[in-house]
Subunit: 245 residues, 2 copies
DNA sequence: CAGTGGTCTAGACCACAGT
DNA sequence: CTGTGGTCTAGACCACTGG
């Protein structure tokens, strides 16, 4: 599915809905929450119900099959598929700390509208000078300073974010807008703390730190760019790479 | 009309080839190796070439679009897509450097049979004292020291490894035995170099380094455990996390 | 303007499940 | 047997792109 299709659908919501989209969304509502293995309506039943051609119904069902929501069994019917893969959600700092049995706290040092600099603009697919939200937080785990995070958000995607009161978890906030990142491009390297960082993190200046940059994407949209500096003595990144886990 | 049906059956009995599969594979051969952005044949051109209905051609092209091989642009045509996903293979140091346009070199500092210590034994799913192969290498990129790697292999899985002459690439060697890791559990943190590490890496002692530990698995078997220390000023880890890239 | 992909129709025959 | 999905036809109109 291309960006163009998404645009089509958005235009359509303000006008007449495409038939295959109508059918698809009808089936989706029937299917979401249903137990794996439950039967979906048969293609010919949907043909009758919507008064459309069978190819149109198939186009609708095809999309759901590709999504992994449905499974076709020739000669038997179409059924709710069991989830293929664990939804590899990106974990937020809050979730990450919880997984380690630590209580995450967050202190906002900065939350304001800014003009995107060259680096942030490129990472967010914006033009230099475009409006971005800059959110700097000092994050603690069990009261100990753990990292200093600068997050940049595309203001166009998150209107009224600053006015709505800052949430505890950025990812939860994005989630409620349907913009939780599903994948990301990360880079990780080691460095020494700057004086400002050292002060915030309660480190000697020049002490070792771990730098983690993230470009978080929801679909094709870059929703978050962040740069985080961790105390090297308190934080280790764990991750699983590759498939077939 | 019945003529058409007869022709269909003849084709089917001859090659067992469905029409949309024929079209799909024809387009695939045209497309593999072509530069991203190259145009694929138009749908109507394929209709003429194969004498099939347009829906059949679309079914063929749909499959390639879902695969990520093709990209449709309404009003313009269908084009070779640029690869979406990161390679699911784990990349070796050699491949990693090649991707950055650097020449990887490797100097073996140690290659011998040892008894597994407690940490290595646990990571390799062995018992302390079991035989392991310990391979320590200093790795350079374009002549500059880049990292120091200690790899431990389960000797039972790789008999005669030390006698067969050390290969250039560990992953290639494992690959030839069908033991190339397909996934891994990694941990990454920042630290300062020990004196020995600093000497090898041509760093001042206490300089910042990136430590990367890996448990590489092929299926359910742990085939490799490694600990690598990188010069912080020369190495950054890049990775893509999550799905739907 | 001509060409492209996006959508849609109203049928058809097939192989295969289950009864 | 009936019903299912899998395949396929021969058209059609639309919105969009490019020259």
């Amino acid at each position: 599915m291309s960006t163009v299709q998404v645009v089509n659908e958005m235009l359509v919501t303000e006008g007449r809905a495409l038939k295959h989209v109508q059918v698809r969304e009808y089936v989706r509502t029937l299917v979401t929450g249903a137990a794996p293995g439950s039967p979906a309506p048969s293609e010919r039943e949907l043909v009758h119900r919507f008064g459309v051609a069978r190819m149109t119904v198939r186009q609708a069902m095809d999309a759901l099959v590709v999504e992994g929501l449905l499974e076709r069994i020739p000669g038997r019917g179409t059924f709710v598929a069991r989830p293929r893969r664990a939804p590899s959600r990106l974990t937020s700092f809050t979730e990450e700390m919880a997984r380690r049995g630590l209580l995450a706290e967050s202190q906002t040092l900065l939350a304001r509208r800014e003009q995107a600099g060259p680096g942030v603009a490129r990472a967010l697919n914006l033009t230099e000078g475009d409006a971005v939200i800059h959110w700097r937080r000092l994050r603690r785990a069990d009261g100990q300073p753990m990292c200093l995070e600068d997050a940049y958000l595309n203001e166009v995607l998150i209107p009224g974010f600053l006015q709505s009161g800052m949430p505890t978890s950025l990812y939860d906030a994005l989630d409620s807008r349907g913009l939780r990142p599903t994948w990301a491009e990360d880079s990780i390297n080691a460095d020494v703390a700057s004086e400002e960082e050292a002060q915030h993190l309660d480190l000697p200046a020049g002490g070792p730190v771990l730098r983690h940059s993230r470009r978080g994407l929801a679909g094709e949209k870059v929703v978050e760019v962040s740069r985080t500096v961790y105390r090297a003595d308190r934080y280790t990144i764990w991750l699983q790479v590759g498939a077939e886990g």
